[in-house]
């Protein structure tokens, strides 16, 4: 039995349980990874590193899809590991995390190290200055623009058991934020509106007419566009050029009368958008996979701008991109609202929601728990709605619309 050929499953699960318990993680070692939440998957990853007696653990954006409670748990675990003498390299875009958890900080910009110091010698302005090479006075360049007539009315929207009872109006020039914890169903609402997920109840009215949207091409016909959450999964076409990625949702416009593609028009439009929204790319023929995350995101913004949408959904538009590009994406979104487009933005970053949105719809476990106006929206109020239990939700529904 002790031969080194066969796996000792009993021992394997026993050790796994010990490791998990040692870190205070409550997960059954027999559970399939696919059934865990992202936060728990991450904890398993950390347990894996610990079980290998790692002396250095690299964590790349470990909190990007965690709730604040989970982040606190993670930080507890990190402190624990530190006390045991484990070194941790913590890669993050989130300033407050750096100041909360790190001892030293090193800043990289455009592939170069631009500074390194004790965190105690740093402050946020100094850090941002290092990161973008200039002072960033406006992360959220919100410009006030007239919010006019309703373009989309959503009533009692539901998709299976993922979410139900979503109702709101969306107006031209408005940025409506969707806030809530990860897993609250915000992305699923957008997917349903865009025809990527089956609608099981409710009505969508666009410009006064009931719209039947069963696939994304229907949504496009109604002037909708959607910058998806998962840039690699549902956004970029990695082995295609920047130009191809820009025009892919809009090819119809490039078909000549004889049925052939007008390559010259594609080239000139691609160049125009690369210039207009300042996509940093060696050329329009560069493969999109060779660009930075921020620039890939800008290519996707270009893709949807090109379709000339009236309604734009942006789902976690700045996840995993650097501070400089973040501000540029924010200003693009604001500008689009200024042009009279109606925008829904899902974001898990509270400053982004508070800084950008005219109104905020808050969700909790697949239910809409409230809609807050910009002037009423504070971090505390939003969190209150986002963590609200079900019996309290009844009355807020009606006042919400």
């Amino acid at each position: 039995m002790k031969a080194k050929v066969f796996v000792d499953h009993k021992q394997l699960y026993r050790l796994a349980r010990e490791t998990l318990q040692g870190l205070g993680i409550d997960i059954d070692p027999y559970e399939k990874m696919g059934n865990l939440t992202v936060a728990k998957m991450q904890m398993v990853e950390i347990a894996k590193a610990v079980s290998q007696d790692a002396s250095i653990i690299v964590m790349d954006e470990p909190t990007s899809s965690l709730t604040s409670i989970e982040v606190a748990q993670l930080f507890g675990m990190i402190r624990n590991l530190r006390e045991k003498g484990v070194s941790i390299i913590y890669i993050s875009h989130k300033m407050e995390e750096i100041f909360k958890i790190c001892d030293d900080v090193t800043v990289f910009r455009d592939g170069q190290m631009v500074g390194s110091d004790l965190v105690s010698n740093m402050d946020v302005t100094k850090l941002i200055h290092l990161m973008v090479g200039r002072d960033l006075d406006a992360m959220f360049p919100k410009i006030d623009c007239p919010i006019t007539d309703v373009v989309m009315e959503v009533r009692d929207l539901a998709s299976g058991s993922r979410f139900s009872g979503i109702s709101f109006d969306l107006r031209r020039g408005e940025i409506l934020g969707f806030a809530g914890l990860v897993g609250a169903g915000r992305t699923e609402v957008l997917e349903t509106l865009f025809g990527l997920r089956t609608k099981t109840a409710g009505t969508i009215t666009i410009n006064g007419k009931v719209a039947e949207i069963s696939r994304p091409s229907d949504a496009l016909k109604h002037g909708m566009a959607m910058l998806t959450e998962d840039r690699r999964g549902t956004g970029i076409i990695p082995v295609s050029s920047v130009a191809s990625n820009i025009v892919v949702a809009n090819l119809k416009q490039y078909v000549r009368k004889n049925g052939l593609i007008n390559h010259r028009k594609i080239a000139s439009d691609a160049k125009e958008y690369i210039k207009r929204i300042e996509i940093k790319t060696p050329s329009k023929d560069t493969l999109i996979q060779d660009l930075s995350g921020g620039n890939q995101q800008k290519v996707l913004v270009a893709r949807w701008l090109l379709t000339g949408p009236d309604i734009l959904f942006v789902d976690e538009p700045t996840r995993g991109i650097d501070v400089g590009a973040k501000a540029e994406i924010h200003s693009l979104i604001t500008k689009m609202a200024g042009e009279g487009k109606a925008i829904i933005m899902v974001s898990s970053e509270m400053p982004e929601i508070l800084g950008m949105c005219d109104r905020v719809l808050v969700m909790h476990e697949g239910r809409q728990t409230g809609i807050l106006d910009r002037c009423d929206a504070t971090q505390e109020r939003i969190m209150e709605f986002a963590t609200r239990t079900d019996e309290e939700t009844g009355e807020t529904q009606s006042q919400a619309i």
Binding site: T234, P238, V239, V248, L260
Partner: protein, 337 residues
Amino acid sequence: MESNAISRRRFNAKGFISKYAMYVILIVLIAIFGFAEPAFFTGRNFVNILTSESSRGLLALGVAFCIITRGIDLSLGSVMAVSSVFSASLVQKLTYSTLIIPGLVNIPPIPAWAAVLFGLVVGTSFGVMNGLLVAYTKIHPFIATLGSMTIARGLALLFTNAYPVPMLREDFTIIGQGSLFGFLPNIVCIFLLMAIIANILLNHTKFGKNMFAVGGNIDAARASGINVERTLVLAYTWSSFCAALAGVMVTARSASGIASLGEGYELDGIAAATVGGVSQTGGVGSIVGCIGGILVLGVINNGLLILGVSPYLQKIIKGAIIVIAVVFDMRKVARKK
């Protein structure tokens, strides 16, 4: 790759070499064979190469579309056989004693074009089925087309009882035996014509662009409003149409329908497309590359044959070249994770 038509700027030596590595290999091979055996280096022999590779070349043009959508089509060899026996069965000389369709004697002769059309329709219907299976049931294209490969072969064998379908009328065989300007066989002309059409479809139509998008990232393609299902059905339909055309042309050329026609040809087609840079990871490929791949394999086949290399050794050399070519190609366009 798909932007060949729009990129023409800036000379990049490294990029140039990796982009044209296959043509360098092709020229080197031709030089080696030509030097070793003067008979290789004749215009007549080049026409021979083209003629013997045309049917497999058609399959390569077909399967390239499937591979670009990140699929595969294993049914092409069997589709050739189906279109072969079905088209041949309609144009057997009535003097032949054991007609596949005995009823032919009682009806007016079926025109040759109708027989061609029948073969094409029956063959292409397998592609429609493949496409629907791949697009709507989401089973892996390898399995879907493995199934239809077996079904199509079985159908051809069942229909003919594994007997050949010989004694075809001259108005039908002329389609395969004729030639353009007296030296370019019709099957070569058809192959070149289809290559031009394939290139136009792939690089200059919305369908082509959609195939690249579907192969590059199917979820992104769907989220961009592309009708993914229609694109897939069309790709597999095109693929089997190419095979059906190859089947009919070979049948007319050899004046006999054969139920075992094209066995293993689908793999040659896949090999040619792959050597030509059509990547199995999807979203990458060109028809020009495909033709290069066909020529490389054709030149190797023909050159080794002329040099009198053992056919068994030929297989080993061919296999090695396929693998080496793809290793090089993978380095060229590695998909970043």
